[in-house]
Chain length 228, copies 2
């Protein structure tokens, strides 16, 4: 597969393509043009063709894209076929929700184990994944190749645990804590799921809309006043 330097914006769109393609396949759609795909995702056909062209030529002139074939290409671009492994740290509410509801294998990941400090949980299983003591973390990492650590510990523990992880070979963290782990001069990959950032963005957009509506109302008011 072609692998030139691809912009961040493109990469953030690829998972959306995957999701849409799965949806199309399920609906029995076998081919789709960049135009129709764009319609469904709110993107221009140009952008879609440009995005895919970063990785190769997956379409056919006069036909469009084969849904199943493109889906496989996209999955491969994202590394879903590489058998990445993960461990989860912190079986609190979020950790449990992930273990219970989030199907790691559906996205190409293998969740090897979870780690906890709560003695009531240690030794038990959740969705077929064993929960180990945090004391076993280092030895486990020494024995297994782990690509990603899912960090779902309380805020206070985040930095301390991160240090233990990186000291023992972890080079990618999926971060559910509200702590900014991203260290500019570190080679650790950190992917943040900051709930608060997301909600605050939404809060901004709602505010913006309310302001616009208020301004529109005020204009209408003035106009009505000038009329009489």
């Amino acid at each position: 597969m072609k692998r030139v330097k691809v912009s961040n914006n493109v990469i953030r769109r690829i998972p959306r393509y995957l999701r849409k393609l799965d949806e199309l396949a399920e609906a029995g759609v076998t081919r789709i043009s960049s135009f129709d795909l764009g319609q469904q995702l709110g993107l221009t056909p140009s952008q879609i063709r440009q995005d895919f062209s970063c990785f190769g030529e997956f379409g056919q002139q006069g036909y469009g894209y084969n849904v199943a074939a493109l889906r496989e290409q996209v999955a491969s671009i994202l590394g879903m076929d590489r058998g990445f492994t993960a461990i989860l740290i912190g079986v609190g509410n979020i950790g449990r929700a992930l273990m219970d509801n989030f199907c790691f294998s559906e996205w190409g990941f293998h969740l090897l184990s979870a780690f906890e400090v709560n003695p009531d949980l240690i030794g038990t299983e959740l969705s077929g994944v064993s929960i180990r003591s945090m004391d076993e973390l280092e030895s486990f990492l020494a024995e297994h190749k782990v690509d990603v650590a899912v960090l779902s510990v309380p805020k206070e523990a985040a930095l301390r645990v991160t240090e233990r992880l990186t000291k023992n070979g972890i080079r990618a963290i999926w971060n559910f804590t509200n702590v900014e782990l991203t260290d500019p001069n570190s080679s650790i990959l950190v992917e943040n799921v900051h709930f608060s950032d997301s909600l605050l963005s939404l809060s901004y957009f709602i505010s913006e809309r309310k302001d616009e509506e208020a301004a529109r109302a005020a204009r209408a008011e003035r106009l009505a006043g000038a009329d009489k």
Copy 2:
């Protein structure tokens, strides 16, 4: 406050500023320059000044920004002082995690109630928030001004619930289901928290890094071969 059309990229950075400013305040820092703030966030000073200039003049030449004052400005930009209200639909794992761990009020939101179909949960409380039957949804919405619906129902229910919500006046959804709700020709604001998208982006970056390392190793190999 100034409110020109601000790009999406800017808006996505504002919550990060808020988080960092809170962190600085907690550490006792009272003033900060765009240069230092940039250092800590991995952004250029220019970009930070440019971002804030979309909304007004919050700094002082020769001094920098007052951390506490800027924090309040940023909070106001995001609408945190507007007293937005929310309800939560679906007290499954994710819903429970949000009610338990996510402090809505910390971000200016008031979580009025949750809604569930499971009879065991209906009538109970979680973190001081009452759980009502889904049957009461319409009447509740008729009686309360609700700005945001937090959608944490199973995938299958997502579209059906969304329709009920929008039919009853909900105009903003914080979506935790893995369903693409965003309808291009709708005025409903949807903010998605797609775990899978996030993980797959990380998966891409890990793949990219592995490929680079493999390529580097191969080059070194060839060089060593040419040497002898």
